[in-house]
Assembly symmetry: C2
């Protein structure tokens, strides 16, 4: 095994790259949900004054990145690289958002697993000394996703109860090496470090119904969680919170059942971002989905819970359904993937 | 600056991650071009017996990865992570190719800059000790790209002379830490190391014509080349060959002119993958394009030229046009990006 690896899929960041800023933006519907007090910005109007939904998503993402930079009391010229992705064909949202910022850009695509992939990459680059500071970002927008993956909004199509609602939202974190001078807990609260991650494999159990994405992604989450516990030697209880990305109610129940069969009890500390972002009576069917779901929930809710000391160790497992309209039209099943990133407020000196 | 950085955009791999295998596959048309003797596999028939062109591209990519694994005398279970991408919406080719291989997967999207992004990531992960061995791969296919980005093949549309032809092809490299035991040149030839890279910024000069992609991408290539020379302190003459990804004849001439104005003479050692992959009378208009263009040219031609000692230092600058059909339909201009990766056969001990 390599020196910063603790298993084939799992890497460790020995020098504790620190998330020194996190910013979240959500749409108007998400801003009425149970987590509304945790988000940095709630849109009053989801088109944000733009001509098209795609421009709106690009602006949502750009404003979120700029928000993270301001909140981190830094400057965009001090961010050496941004890892970002979204759901829109050819990463249209990320490309048009970052075009205006002049930050060196490495594009990622992991469907809704993009935020954990991006955080892992940014921590990996900071920890290895490839940059001083890195950003990780992801976005999704209900209206761009509906148009691209499903039906024109004006159709007003009905959906089955297993369907999920693409979150209008974005998140951005900034990562740097921990500051020795600021080693002590600051008045702003606990510091949040990225301690490691587990890279997912593609898992495809043959589900072909794009209204059953939670069920399509759940086996990938189970595979990555199992690999993470096996390789890290940690038990689920080590974490104050384990969060999957956007499995929704059906996918979440599959994860709990499947993990129990493998000997892991997740009943006490496991939640799914897609299950907590909307009110239960909000017509969101099985729950939220989209890159922006785990991105906004992590950057808004989880990060701030860690900052105020209510959570010490968190595992974020963003989950992605690697389908496209072409693959669906061609009758292909839906490959799933999940990447895990571990966060801690307890920095280990090495 | 961080310890493995020599400028905001540029990183250095001090322990010389080694490319221990490279495999290239091209389609039948590319297999008639001037580089035909350098490719590992030339398809007789570009659908490779599959039902759809998309399945054909996935098979092309999978067979190329498997080819690299076999050629490297290793096993797919010994590859800890694969960085891969393609042009098809939601990385359909990579997802379906890698689904069957069981290799932990981090998806990338950089349009046609994907191969240099993937090689940089795999070298970064190996060099930092996050894995023992990593793979980097990318593919494109004329028939999937035409269908997705342009017109149905059956239309037989004409194109202007500035248009480029998407290469049917794929490349895969395997990267590991250099083997101390095998330090001396082996009977197989020189060893090829990844010495560093320069991460590109998005550059958009306002071109909106998707039949002018070389011109749209050229300013990004100029920006990255300039950053690379400025930050690394190297002159163009340091390299035996500087290769852009797929600018074609028009983009290549813009790069030469623009770099001359900035004081860099590229007239002696600069080539473009898109200009060398087809015969000049092959109806390829301005030249080849697609992720597979620089991937196959690097893995076939360049890597093997380095192995036989004809090239010592090479800079690969794959170039991407970050457009989508949606952005084109909405009248947006085409953002370009280029990432540079430096290769050497002269390992520096550190």
């Amino acid at each position: 095994m390599a020196e910063n690896q603790y298993g084939r899929q799992s890497i460790v960041f020995k020098n504790s790259p620190e998330i020194f800023s996190a910013y979240s933006t959500v749409g108007s519907k998400e801003g009425k949900g149970p987590l509304k007090s945790w988000f940095d910005l709630i849109l009053q109007e989801d088109k944000i004054g733009q001509k098209t939904w795609e421009e709106a998503e690009a602006k949502l993402l750009k404003d979120t990145i700029v928000g993270a930079v301001k909140k981190g009391k830094t400057d965009k010229h001090k961010i050496d690289v941004i890892f970002s992705g979204d759901l829109i064909n050819q990463l249209m949202s990320s490309s048009y958002a970052i075009r205006e910022l002049g930050i060196p850009f490495l594009g990622l695509y992991g469907a809704c697993s993009t935020m954990s992939e991006a955080i892992m990459m940014s921590a990996a680059f900071v920890s290895a000394g490839y940059c001083e500071a890195a950003a990780a970002a992801a976005s999704s927008h209900f209206c761009t996703a509906e148009r691209q993956f499903r039906m024109p909004l004006a159709h007003g199509n009905q959906k089955p109860p297993s369907a999920q609602l693409t979150v209008t939202g974005a998140g951005c974190v900034l990562v740097r090496k921990p500051d020795i001078v600021l080693e002590q807990p600051s008045e702003e609260g606990e510091r949040v470090y990225v301690s490691g991650g587990t890279i997912g494999k593609i898992v495809d159990m043959g589900i072909k119904d794009s209204n059953m994405m939670g069920a399509a992604m759940a086996p990938a989450a189970v595979d990555t969680l199992t690999a993470h516990f096996r390789e890290s030697g940690k038990e689920p209880e080590f974490y104050d919170m384990i969060l999957t990305g956007d499995l929704g109610a059906i996918g979440k129940s599959i994860v709990i059942d499947s993990m129990r069969k493998k000997g892991f009890d997740l009943s006490n500390n496991y939640e799914d971002c897609g299950c907590v972002i909307y009110e239960s009576n909000s017509d969101a069917h099985s729950g939220g989905s989209g890159c922006g779901c785990s991105a906004a929930v992590f950057c808004g809710y989880v990060y701030n819970k860690m900052r105020i000391g209510e959570l010490k160790n968190v595992l974020l497992v963003s989950t992605g359904a690697l389908l496209s309209t072409i693959s669906t039209q061609q009758g292909e099943s839906i490959p799933g993937i999940a990447h895990a990133v571990a966060f801690t407020t307890e920095r280990k000196m090495v």
